[in-house]
Symmetry: C2
Amino acid sequence: MRRFQKLSIPVFPMTDRKKITPLSKLGEFGLIGHLTKDFKIHQASTVKGVGDDAAVVEYKGKKMLITTDLLVEGIHFNLVYTPLKHLGYKSVIVNLSDVYAMNGHPRQVLVSLALSAKFSVEAVEQLYEGIRMACEKYKVDLVGGDTTTSLTGLTISVVAMGEVEKGKLVYRNTARVNDLICVSGDLGAAYMGLQLLERERKVFNESGEGIQPDLTGYDYILGRQLKPEARKDIVESLHDHQIVPGAMIDLSDGLSSDLIHICRQSALGCRIFQDRIPMADETGRAAREMNIEPFIAALNGGEDYELLFTIPLNQHDEVRKIKDISVIGHITEKGAGMKFVTVQGDEIELQAQGWDSFGDEQSASGI
Amino acid sequence: MRRFQKLSIPVFPMTDRKKITPLSKLGEFGLIGHLTKDFKIHQASTVKGVGDDAAVVEYKGKKMLITTDLLVEGIHFNLVYTPLKHLGYKSVIVNLSDVYAMNGHPRQVLVSLALSAKFSVEAVEQLYEGIRMACEKYKVDLVGGDTTTSLTGLTISVVAMGEVEKGKLVYRNTARVNDLICVSGDLGAAYMGLQLLERERKVFNESGEGIQPDLTGYDYILGRQLKPEARKDIVESLHDHQIVPGAMIDLSDGLSSDLIHICRQSALGCRIFQDRIPMADETGRAAREMNIEPFIAALNGGEDYELLFTIPLNQHDEVRKIKDISVIGHITEKGAGMKFVTVQGDEIELQAQGWDSFGDEQSASGI
């Protein structure tokens, strides 16, 4: 069968046995120096990066944004099918996405790792290569972090800092009645990518060694799961078109959960329409192949890292000029509830079925 | 035997079985809201705290400091003898200490937790009570974080942000030849506190249930281990006396390792003297009781969270006016090496023997 070349996902199991250097050979400070030596400084606001008690940044009179996400092995990622380079990349992206969701611009990141003895220097290099690629692409500076041991597995804690221009800051709780609800990109793909990887992992485990997973024809949804991007372009386009969203959030928990956040925090309701939900053909195809209702993947899948935002009705024509934005519904009074309208015209109450960190069953969705 | 009242360390095992609410009962957002509802906002620079994609802070033209530390169960703390309230307190303090070590003032913190199923809502409440106490005492605002599950144990990731006045920023690499080397407080106590707790844990484990640990007469060293403070007062006193240190670092890895950081990064040497090293009577008594050379505890113990800094010779008289600062030696040319001079006049080369996260054997020292 075909190897998954585009994303260069290694065959299972993915451990590279070519060269293994134990972490203890470098020690904590040696390791940090080794891993960060190829990181360039992009931002004028970065005064002092890695190497002291704290990083120093300087923003002259601008509002600063700070966000952090924790990624835990076995909860947020499975190293059986997640290449470390992709994981490093994604761990930065999910934090940058939070900064964009405030209509801001990320500038610096800090990365902390807790590593068990199973990780070699080469493995951590792969992780940092992905972190470096994300920093390069989004022009953010790595300015600090903490590296330590763990008894089991890998935990990654990333902090992102950014700034926002005067009058541009957008919260979740500032939607207004009759605002249009917009979403960037397409939904449900990352979730279907995860379902596919999970299915193939099970086949691999049950079939004995040597049988390689069949990921043919699903490059897009796998890419959305393993190497998501943050919608810097959308924030820039909104700026160019002089649109300041009423409320905004990034889609990490799923459209349903995240729209509920906006409505609850704004004390309003909403109405969104099934036939307006953007979805890639491949997502629908994978969903049908795996007997999942496609719109359920879009509503509850999560990890899309698209932007969900509201705009005033009178900016409808302007927002239509921006590529890759769909208007999926509108904000209502609170009493009207939070409704999903199917193609048949049925109204379903939206439910938060995304990632629940503390549920008895873990959601398939990730971060 | 006497219970250790002052710090209210519970008897071993410490799990409180009075009331147990599973985390799943609240869910992630419910839990965060529940835990953070009693946190007050102290800082004018805090624009938006918990509850959106990112926190918002605003510093008008001032340099900002950002630092983060990861605390991992089984590596940095043992819950058998670490009350969760103390752990929450300490997890904030170790980060504030990094901000003070840059001669700055902490303003905000973010706290992320990865929790396994063994933790109840009541347990996490205890942890947050300690976090809240530290925020209250140091007047810092909790503005965000992330809460998720883990497969095993507890991981705490804290980020601290602060600011520093113009011209007051102090790095590690800016020591100058002939600078005096100063240290606040006394050293080795936290390390001896940990040795005592570890000894009693072993006695408890070997003796069967019911035999309580004997911690009598060691309030000070136990307090230094379980509830350290950050030296806000020293940073304020230096400011009041118009002393800007040449270089500064906080003592987390141990005097020896941390002084080596200053010397190496400044490309200089040093000479410190055994009879100048400040040590509490109780530390020396505990060390002798446990057959540990007291000065070894002071040099290599770590977790003191005292400030180690250098000042120009001509500020000697001024620094002597500040309570609780000891002058322990001076900075030399690089060629003179990094020397510890014993009371007998022997010169020993300083060695980094503090916390090595990746050593084959784990150091007894903590964070």
